[in-house]
């Protein structure tokens, strides 16, 4: 149980970071974000994404435009804001630090427990 809990905590921590970096690549539609995340095996269900996007948008890290779609209702296309980029750069550094920290602490271990 504890392992599971830690897992979700870890996932949650990097999820926002990943979303920000996916969006930083250019204007993107929510379901494409989901596809990317699924490819990265990060997200299980779509429902989790919408609250996250809304929060990032409300914090001023993202913005969106409505675009007509051929197959259905108009779609929201997300893009990153300058502040979002700034945050992303900070997170980049943090991530590097984290990778270093984890690798250092894992050194000398043959198998990882998971």
């Amino acid at each position: 149980m504890i392992a599971e809990n830690t897992q979700t905590q870890m996932r949650k921590g990097i999820l926002e970071y990943c979303i920000l970096s996916i969006i930083s690549k250019g204007e993107i539609y929510a379901s494409d974000i989901i596809a990317e995340l699924k490819r990265a095996q990060l997200l299980v269900v779509e429902g989790t994404l919408y609250p996250l996007l809304t929060r990032l948008k409300n914090n001023g890290l993202l913005s969106y435009n409505w675009k007509e779609s051929t197959s259905g209702p108009p779609r929201k296309y997300y893009q990153i804001t300058p502040e979002g980029l700034e945050v992303l750069h900070k997170l980049d550094n943090t991530w590097k630090e984290l990778v270093y920290a984890v690798e250092t602490s894992l050194q000398g271990r043959n198998e990882s427990k998971n």
Binding site: A30, V45, E46, G47, Y50, T54, S69, S71, G72, P73
Partner: protein, 581 residues
Amino acid sequence: MNKTIIININSIVFHIEEEAYETLRSYMIDIKKHFGKSSDSQEILQDIENRIAEMFSEKIQVGRKEVISLDDVNHVISQMGKVSDFEDEAEEETSTDQAGFEESTQSQEPPISVVDKKLMRNPDDKIFGGVCSGLGAYFNMDTKWMRLIFICFFLFGGSGIMLYIILWIVMPLAVSRADKMAMKGESPTLQNFKKSFEEEIQGLNPHFSKAKSEIARGTSAVGSGISKLGRVFLRFIAFIILIVCALTIFGLAIACVGFITGVLGYQREMVFPGTEFLNTPQAIVALIAGTLAIAIPFLALLQLMLRVLFKTQPLNNYLSLGLWATWISSIIAVIFFCFIGAQEFKESSTIKVEKPLTAQKVYYIAEKDIRLIEASEVDKNGKKFQIELKGKNLEFLLRSDINISFQSIDSLAKPYIQYNYFARGKSYQAATTNAAEIYYLASQRDDKIVFDSHFSVGPNKKYRDESVSAILYLPQGSRVVIDKSIEYKLRNLSFWDCQRAYDSDEDIKSTEWIMGRTGLQCTPKFQPIVKKSEENKAVEDLVKQAEKHAKDAEEHARKIQKEAKAMAERIEVSVKESSTN
């Protein structure tokens, strides 16, 4: 053949099978309940609906498949994720009370948190309205203990009946399964729905099973149990405050209405002190302002307790701002009316009137209580009296601030009474007008001077500190008999001291005075009738006689002495004459 339902999501129309619709509907309700707590819920729900609409439109193939089936809905749901899959996210969203949440997710139990409980009446376990079982579920107490508490309330003054009825009205009935779960503090997730349904199928007593899981939890986490107990206790206190607030506001409203009818003159048992200083519209506004000034803080407290207990939404900004504004302005209004009231007393005026009295040897001073009417004059309802006073409200018209004093004048001057009519007002002019409205004169009939017990001011007049002082100017040597009835109106004169001077056990009904140079002197007329024995009297007479004799003798002796002295002088003069010759 399947029945289809037409729905629209984000203004796109879909045909959907009935079964699929039911599933989708309960899913959307779940989602709404889940995200309902967060502030961005509207936007999130919009996004999700949008996405569902899109996924549906991808499924539709014109001509081949035009109806959304249950499979499609299930597929969409699995892609979007069930509410239980969002749970972790919610933890982060609402970071309050995280510790309790994590604990419950760890143990994989349905989260039983007191915070989410709703106070509702339980229709499954009821005697009258299910109030007790609802309260029991709310405070985590066995229903029978709750009932016992209420029975105690019933026994002590019957206050429990009132409380029960109020709660019956206030507490909503838990009709749906979601309501019942909210009542027991279980979050309305799909698993819990299933659990609740299974419980029902098995016919298990939900309280019992909950108690069991509670005990299991309690042993593992005593600390959290204690804090939970504290929370339950706090909520109990909040609940009491809530009821007190509600009753206070109720009482204030009744009092306000009562006082307003008092001001309007419909009744006079309930008149708020001070409102008689103001005119009627002012008094009504002042009363309402005063009530609001007191009631609004209670209202705020009530709302706060409602929020704490029932998780009701906070008041919207306009409403709370409006309440603030009303409160401040009613306080200002109260201060304003106090000021207005005080203004009415700023200036004072006294009118002096002198009326002659016919000279008498003895003046009998007495009071007539004008409120007393001979029984023969009036029927039971006092109607005649009301008619005499032109139907006006007596209590507002009659004042009794009267005092009477006595002054001496030359024994040859004519006696008279001086009346001083006093009143206050906004200006000297108003004060004088108010003083002029006072009607009060004593009446003299031969040697009797009668003062009325009250004086009257004009109809519909408000209290303006009116008073009357009457000064009787009487020639020196006049005798005055003062009746006990007027005792309390006398100024600078002690009726009681004079009464004592009579030296009698009997109740003295009147005292006698005489006008001296400086004022009235007490002259007890009725000497005490002391019963003396004949012997004593005789002895006293003898003593008196002897005294008289002694006095006579003394006088006689003095006379002789004087004569002897004169004679001696005469002899001396004649001797001198003879010697010179």
